[in-house]
Amino acid sequence: MDKDLKDVHPKIIQALLDTETDITVEDALENEMVLNMGPQHPATHGVLRLVLRLDGETIVACVPDLGYLHRGYEKLAENMSYYEFIPHTDRLDYISPMANNVAWVLAVEKLAGLEVPERAQYIRMMVAELARITSHLVAIGSFAMDVGAMTVFLWTLREREKVMDIWDMLCGARFTNSYTRIGGVANDAPPEALSRIKWFIEQFEENLVECEKLINTNRIFVDRVDGIGVISKEDAISLGFSGPNLRASGVEYDIRRAQPYLQYDQIDFNVPTLTEGDCLARYFLRVEEMKESTKIVKQVLQKMPEGETILNKPKKVLPHKTEIYTKMEELIHDFMIVNFGINPPVGEIYHAIEGSKGELGFYIVSKGEGHPWKCKIRSPSFNNIQSLPTLVKGQMVSDVVAIIGSIDPIMGEADK
């Protein structure tokens, strides 16, 4: 074996050689080689590793190798209470922690049969959409940077920074939010945060158009991604694509529309769909989704009712910290919930939301105890990466970077 390949496991090499391929190169130089890309590579968005089989510069086969960020969250979830797992969901898709918080508590509430106050539902919708905006901003910025357009990244991150400040006002943390609670949200959204969000949404639309102009008129960017990494509608469904990637291939499927959760059935929004299925379509779709998200946040701000933000059900919902120190009943309930958990009924549920990257689902099996018997995270990035070998086959080495950027994988979520 080649000396440089001593770090690649023989089984990976075998899988690479066994991959069936129909790629033939005219005027083959007869210099097939194996190229290792990652896990430390600036354009793999984390610790993704690809082992590529090349003929000249054309990719004949590709085998992704995951697990460099595997922390065993499913095992951890089986050994902690439902409340304790909320901070861990922050670390799944670490670009949009708010959406993960929402997904987890919705799954637990479905299992326990809890109905959340309306104001809390609107707040959750608002943060989930803002999380989608931040996630897509990072996706577009880093995608453009991967193919050589540097300025966009600075502009989109500037916008994201403003949302980070809003997170800070809402829950006191900029990055790992843990804002939602089972039965509601940690605290009501303060008026200054709401007015800040209103200001952000108003100026964001203009700034997004500026960013768009910067990319859409950049001929290098468009030429590099147009028609690259095409995936058909049938393949996209078969390979388990979800979210913006699936919709860029012409499947009009959005869980917010198909199985409305929270109050999405009260909101007027479009599901943008494109049919090209290439890298450029995936970029355009994310921009359109951000525009839809701003529309949703605007409506949420208008429709948000006054009222409670946490459910009044002492046996299931943690009391507020200030009450624990002053009231006996609350102290007892807090003790019981922290030590013994909320004990949902025996059963199993699967609940999925339209996360920033796609379908984020939790499958929870309960034996009536304080901790889940089994928790499976259906992460969109994992299933999106699965299609990489199909997408890169027959493309050039330099296109791999563009294709990875366009499907926007987050390794924290893919490796769990």
């Binding site: 393949d235 388990g240 259906r378 490796d415 769990k416």
Partner: protein, 162 residues
Amino acid sequence: METAELVLQKLKNEFTSIDFEVSDFRNELTLKLPKENIVEICSFIKTDSELEFVYCEDITAVDWAKRTNRFTVVYHIYSFKNNFRIRLKADVDESDCNIDSVCSVWKAANWQERETYDMYGIKFNNHPDLRRMYMPEEFEYHPLRKDFPLMGIPGSIPLPKK
């Protein structure tokens, strides 16, 4: 629950000899079936023109620790046409720890089955590329089994050679 009735009716008509164990919790239809029939049932619900369960969302397993049939393999399948999700379950015993792969039905099952194999040690017959998903190839254990300790097993992952 009209679609649920349609699915049940179709399956019972097609597979008369199979005894489906139907359960419904929080409006989610769950069907338990013998593991020998998993591939034919999956390809039927995918190709039937009225059902079209074309989207394989998730495959995983549950370890019941002390039960006779120790593992249950769980499939979540979605139909765009009916906007309906179905959960299929098949029991697998530890002494005969394998089940047929559904990769031929849904391509997405490839990695999902690999992950299940990695975490639970259930072998998927006829799988095109059954390697470990997350753990190193040299790793001997299956971490999501209930008898694997939470803190891990010291020395089970070798340090990289200098």
